[in-house]
Assembly symmetry: C2
Homo-oligomer: 377 residues x 2
Amino acid sequence: MATPLIVPPRLLLGPGPSLCAPEVLRALATPLLGHLDPAFLRIMDATKDRLRELFKTANRLTLPLPGTGSAGTEAIVVNFIEPGERVIVGVNGVFGGRLADQARRIGARVETIDVPFGEAIPAEAVESALEREPAAAVIIVHAETSTGVLQPDIARMAAATRRVGGLFLLDCVTSLGGTPVEIDAWGADAAYSGTQKCLSVPPGLAPATFGERAVAKLKARRTPVPSWYLDLGMIDAYWGSERAYHHTAPISMVYALHEGLGLLLDEGLEASFARHLRVRRFLDDALASLDLRPVVPEAIRLPMLTSVAIPEGVDDAGLRRDLYERFNIEIGGGLGPLKGKVWRIGLMGYGAREENVLTLTGALRDLIPRHRKTRSA
Amino acid sequence: MATPLIVPPRLLLGPGPSLCAPEVLRALATPLLGHLDPAFLRIMDATKDRLRELFKTANRLTLPLPGTGSAGTEAIVVNFIEPGERVIVGVNGVFGGRLADQARRIGARVETIDVPFGEAIPAEAVESALEREPAAAVIIVHAETSTGVLQPDIARMAAATRRVGGLFLLDCVTSLGGTPVEIDAWGADAAYSGTQKCLSVPPGLAPATFGERAVAKLKARRTPVPSWYLDLGMIDAYWGSERAYHHTAPISMVYALHEGLGLLLDEGLEASFARHLRVRRFLDDALASLDLRPVVPEAIRLPMLTSVAIPEGVDDAGLRRDLYERFNIEIGGGLGPLKGKVWRIGLMGYGAREENVLTLTGALRDLIPRHRKTRSA
């Protein structure tokens, strides 16, 4: 007999995936429908409606793309930017850098606005880059998962971009559902997210929304979209009223997203935002009691993800291994220049609860002294 | 309260998704692990081992890509073909045509070998196209899901391709698990499949395997892989020994695939192939009793998917709607030039059972007379 699944009961308090709601796990186990079944088409429509509520948008073209959050990143680049076009990308963490890499691959002229990891992109920098030369698009990360920074001034950056005729494209992977995202009010032309953060759904889909200006640009392209799989015109023909076969929708994941969004809307968006912030403040106090310092200043710190400086002399890998092995807890390590320097603590979606802070705090209190390297080591 | 999921109990006998095994549905509902958790890395390794058994290959680089079968299609095109290279694509159905479209999008010089829908690609045509001018790659669909044709002479085509230094790339979306696929014995350089056909797993992953010659070509590319999301070098760095973060693996879908592969290997590949063929023969007899004719000659007819000519004067859409509404049965309609002309009956994976043939036959016996259009209509 083949070995069965061996899955320890982890408390997921890293940068994602976060804990799934039990209702979402049950939805995943629902028997399949065909991807063109009228009963499935109704679930698709309900999912689109729920995503519009979540993104605070009236955009018709609002749907989950058939890949993880990274597929959302790729979709905005391949659909809305053509070779040779100038694109401005804010880089204050790993995910901004990735967006710049993707835009370069398709032949865009990429200009990055680089600030140190842990800071926000200054709106003035975007404005002056656009004044120097207009750009076809500006791409900004709303919540940098690699650092824990919440980007302010989104509406101001979007307005500056639109003034020069460009598209304002927004990464909402970690923010959506856990802190306000206001696509229409901010004037963002397209945005995408992932399911595995504040939506309490497993990784595998990229909820996304695309406004009229973005769709017009897509229709006016001089070159075909280089990706067939993520060609929004074809994806829209399936998810829209034509129902034309493109790919086979990931049925079970759509069930899960439908359920996760339903739970979130039943709780209420404002209530979810308040809960994430309340639990973050509870964490702040607990960290202070352990002499642990958040890396990001409070004014731009995410509610759902906190980077904490690893205390001098503490063994990062050893401690995180013990967190798994002794207490079944996952937190995240640092990425890029923050590797070995920070822990990333996620309190997202179903996992954003005070009791999880208590468990983690207790574990850190036990483990930090054990993982201090001796001077001789 | 948000509307709950409403999912009628469908018998999925179309071209996929097919019915999931109940064990697979239970695996889907397993709580999440993080994508870098040592416990999840062990599940990834076991899944890779199982895929190697299934593809009959020793290829190190064998893994599920993070998208549906169509993402597999795109992955072989974007990774192994560079702009300006000559590519030969066999087109005897919708999926061959799609491969040609994808190769054109990335700037390949595409030559198609076109034969009518319902026929196989002649090996001689591939050989003579290669003799006329060598090609960087030949892409062939092993099982054309749009028609139900099983392509013979794969090893011969692969040998001809390798003689001129090209890569032989194979689409095994519908064949894998239901009929022999012998990647190493045939000399295929890369192949991909989907989870929602003979593996009894929901749609959402593209199991794939890549041989040494393909990997060497990838490493020697002059241009970067145009897709970041499907860049195999980066995906390998995550699924291989480096464990470098690329995307967040679709955890629940990997659980499901791990379980579906375990069930298939426990049954035994030969037993699964024999079952698919036996049930197909049972269907053949049932269709004959209803005066329904398969479209594809028996010598090249798939075991798991049968295209049946819609009898003269029968209303395709009306009958399929009644199949859903009265009997909860799904079969597929025709694609491309076969639209309105055939039904596609899939008996795949968990759904390949004699009792399902009985249910479908009974339903068709009831509905066909009701859906004959009157002459005056």
